[in-house]
């Protein structure tokens, strides 16, 4: 069970990209980009009933391999997209949610750093460390 890729987007350009360096990295990047459209669709459709932050997107199951792409959007329109390879068993919903919460917490810390300009690539070591530990723990 591996988290293959995590990408943070702000207005559709990436703020942070991290992948387990395996083969076909480009394929993951492509999938993440296409899933952005679905994320946008969900945001606009969700106006009334579910006033909730997180959204789970399950989809993009390839005929050959199993991948699930999860999405999460903050109130400040930053989108987190995560690609998970579900070769063994699926990660439980709660685990995915807690991973996104950790990502959000770390992102908030990066935002509050006065040396960070919003819109730049994220180059914080603490953030990197957190993401690494998350990806390792899942494998």
């Amino acid at each position: 069970m591996a988290v293959s890729t995590i990408i943070l987007f702000l207005q559709n350009y990436p703020l942070y990209i991290r992948s387990v360096p395996t083969e076909n990295e480009l394929k993951f990047h492509y999938m993440v980009h296409t899933s952005l459209d679905v994320v946008d669709e969900k945001i606009s459709a969700m106006g009334k009933a579910l006033v909730d932050q997180r959204e789970l997107y399950l989809g993009l199951l390839y005929p050959t391999e199993d991948y699930k792409v999860y999405g999460y959007v903050t109130n400040s329109k930053v989108k987190f997209v995560m690609v998970v390879d579900s070769s063994n068993t699926a990660l439980r919903d709660n685990e995915i949610r807690s991973m996104f919460r950790k990502l959000h917490n770390s992102y908030t810390d990066v935002m509050c750093n006065p040396f960070y300009n919003p819109g730049d690539r994220i180059q914080s070591r603490a953030f990197d460390g957190m993401v690494t530990s998350m990806m390792i723990q899942v494998c």
Partner: protein, 131 residues
């Protein structure tokens, strides 16, 4: 000289506002519309920063909001009337930036100005820019 200082203060407030909003909206539900966002600013945001809510929010429903605070915390110790009115703008610049930064992170471009007619009450006017 004075103008440059005020702009600098406002920009600092902008950056701080962006970070603050990120922290405050971490656990709140998604906002339904612009009015919802303004109400959040008036209640939760103002309470967390200034320990009180905005006393009055008015809008013309066309992108202009006026937030009135009758006892603005940064001005209460200055005077209780018309004294020192001309110096008030220095103390309000940072807060204007705070509001502008918070709104910009929530996806709203705006221009925020403040006016004081009699301390410690002051009004913040938010003009939303539709792109």
């Amino acid at each position: 000289e004075n103008g440059r200082c005020i702009t600098k203060l406002e920009n600092m407030g902008f950056r701080v506002g962006q970070g603050l909003i990120e922290r405050f909206t971490k656990d709140t539900a998604r906002f339904k519309d612009e009015l919802d966002i303004m109400k959040f600013i008036c209640k939760d945001f103002w309470t967390t920063v200034f320990k009180k809510q905005i006393d009055n929010l008015r809008t013309n429903h066309q992108g202009i909001y006026v937030l009135q605070d009758n006892k603005f915390r940064l001005l209460t110790q200055m005077s209780a009337g018309k004294q020192y009115l001309e110096h008030a703008s220095k103390y309000l610049a940072f807060t204007c930036g705070l509001i502008r930064g918070g709104l910009s992170n929530l996806g709203i471009k705006s221009i925020v100005t403040a006016e004081v007619s009699s301390m410690p009450a002051c009004k913040f006017q938010v003009m939303i820019q539709k792109l």
